[in-house]
């Protein structure tokens, strides 16, 4: 069977496409961050993300995030099929810009938190959470 040059190109690109999957996940995270920051630079420091080192079950992972002086904090799970987890928007009646919740993580991955500060700047932090596969019943 002979392929036309066009067919060879398509075959080649599909193979390359499969290899690009991990890049696609990275791209999704970057898109989310870009949408949140409007393309502005993101610094470090002044934001804390608390999550277990090893999550006993990926279905319910307790996390909390804190960024004194922030207006909002966006959480992303880089290894989930859809990285968006949620965004906390803080009102004036909150003494600390901090909140806790429980999230789903599809597997071991980096959890990312990006905060928009009151002065319009952005900071981010990330933390690796190991999500284990149980033995029986896990």
């Amino acid at each position: 069977m002979t392929f036309t040059r066009r067919e060879m190109l398509v075959l080649g690109l599909s193979a390359a496409g499969a290899a690009l999957l991990p890049l696609r996940a990275v791209a999704a995270v970057e898109d989310n961050i870009a949408a949140f920051t409007g393309g502005a630079a993101v610094g470090e420091g002044g934001i804390t993300l608390t999550a277990p080192e090893i999550a006993e079950n990926g279905n319910t992972v307790p996390i909390s995030v804190s960024a004194p002086g922030a207006v909002s904090i966006m959480i992303l799970a880089s290894g989930n099929p859809n990285p968006a987890v949620g965004t906390f928007n803080f009102g004036a009646l909150m003494p600390k810009q901090e909140a806790s919740t429980r999230i789903r993580l599809a597997g071991t991955q980096n959890l990312i938190a990006v905060a928009k500060m009151a002065d319009g700047s952005f900071v981010q932090t990330s933390r690796e959470v190991k999500v284990t596969i149980g033995g029986c019943g896990g």
Binding site: I54, E56, N57, T60, P62, T132, G135, C136, G137
Partner: protein
């Protein structure tokens, strides 16, 4: 470096990797800062030394999971208890009655769960039997599905009335033949993997199977809010899960076999506090 030294170092490294979560093994389960539950105690005599100490499943979980059970608000199983409190006074069935029409308050059930299962009129009765039995005869109501959320919420509400009391399941007299049946099942290998309950829960508790920290398989904490399914799980549902994991055909929820097994397994925990509803992985 000699080969012996290398393998010794590798051995140490493996042991170090395998024991990440030991730090919280001495932790105490105190709920709402006031109710202390017994999660470790001397094994009951009938075990004849098979276990020295019996431990609640709580002691095998990570610190974050343990924390969820220490506060009745943090405990996700409690939302279902709330639903059962509502159901308790909701009329259901042809007789126009609710549970509360006859049972003035749910507190009257204090102490019941600690003794379940029990033998009544020559048959093993578990809590789900009592509940559906009442629904049928006193209320004229449709039976609830064994592992459905209505049933398990009610089981959790009743278990809560015995929270903190030591499990005290009778194993002699009328119960003796069923206890023997349950005990035989416990030590029988099932499935393609030919695993008995004892292979994991007696011979290998505290070890890891993949990343799962094996417990003693005690059921004092059921119904358990499992983080995996994010709902209340019944004892029989868990038995089915375990046997299915041996790649064997399992018995049905509510079957005579599982009721005998429940009686035996519950008695292995005699002395541990009722925890219901607990939080597990």
């Amino acid at each position: 470096m000699t080969n012996a030294l290398k393998s010794a170092m590798a051995g140490v490294a493996i042991i170090a990797l395998v024991s990440p979560a030991m730090a919280q093994d001495d932790a105490k389960l105190i709920v709402n800062g006031e109710i202390e539950l017994v999660t470790r105690t001397e094994a009951p005599a009938h075990l004849e030394g098979a276990l020295r100490e019996i431990r609640s499943g709580w002691t095998f979980r990570t610190a974050e999971t343990q924390a969820l059970q220490m506060d009745d608000f943090e405990n996700p199983g409690m939302i279902f208890v709330d639903q059962a409190i509502d159901a308790f006074s909701t009329v259901d069935g042809t007789e126009g009655k609710s549970c509360s029409s006859c049972h003035e308050s749910v507190e009257a059930f204090s102490g019941l769960f600690a003794q379940m299962p029990k033998v009544v009129d020559g048959k093993v009765v578990v809590l789900e039997d009592f509940i559906n039995g009442h629904r049928a005869t006193a209320m004229g109501a449709e039976p609830w599905k064994w592992s459905g959320i209505e049933m398990q919420s009610m089981v959790a509400l009743i278990a809560l009335q015995s929270r903190g009391m030591p499990m005290n399941v009778k194993i002699d007299g009328e119960a003796a033949p069923f206890w023997e049946q349950g005990k035989e099942m416990y030590y029988t290998r099932y499935g393609q993997l030919e695993l008995s309950c004892a292979n994991c829960h007696e011979d290998n508790y505290d070890n890891y199977i993949r990343a799962d920290h094996l417990s003693q398989g005690q059921i004092n904490g059921f119904p358990a809010y499992r983080l995996k399914q994010a709902t209340l799980i019944s004892r029989h549902n868990r038995f089915r899960g375990c046997i299915r994991d041996t790649r064997g055909e399992t018995f049905a929820e509510g079957s005579d076999e599982f009721k005998a097994l429940e009686l035996y397994v519950a008695s292995r925990g005699n002395g541990l506090s009722v925890e219901g509803p607990s939080v597990r992985n």
